[in-house]
Amino acid sequence: MDPTPDSPSSRRALLVGLLAWALPGAGHFALGRRGRAAWFAALTCLALLTGLALAGNLHRPVSGQPLTYLATLGAMGMGLVYFVLEVGLGYAGDPTAAGYEYGTAFLLTAGLMNLLLALDAWDIANGRKD
């Protein structure tokens, strides 16, 4: 049976989900799945670093272009890294770079992968998944 929305286990699951979103692999690490956490962190970081090395676009909302909102949500899936890059470092990518489109795909994929990890960690913490 699922825990009630304000039960301690539900709050813990929410915290684990948030932790998983904030740092790739951290949610699974907190749940004791250390081997899987290491794989997830490595694969997500490899996607992220490849995207950055190719100077891909880190999506941000553009008024009048609804799809950019969706893409931004996907890119924000990479958690704190998104805000560090976007706000802290002012990263914008380079549209003239040869690997720009590929880099954009890698960055968006890193965000989407981490979103899936956050949902997976949340499900495990809730007892809905092994």
Binding site: W39, T44, Y102, A105, M113
Partner: protein, 63 residues
């Protein structure tokens, strides 16, 4: 890195990610990894050759 190299890296990342996320047994993980990895690579090559059969678009506009 070449287009093919980047495509291979992308397929490797997704194959590894979904294998660890969706499977628990090592043997099942390897099977899913090869299915995703091979499917992405082979699918991209097949689609690429199918697009080769399509008529080319108009030439790019000059400066």
């Amino acid at each position: 890195m070449s287009h093919f190299g980047l495509m291979t890296l992308y397929a490797f990342l997704l194959g590894g990610f979904f294998a660890v996320l969706w499977r628990r047994e090592r043997r099942d993980q390897w099977r899913l990894f090869w299915q995703v990895f091979g499917g992405l690579l082979a699918g991209a090559l097949v689609l690429g050759w199918l697009m080769y059969l399509l008529p080319p678009g108009p030439p790019p506009a000059g400066p």
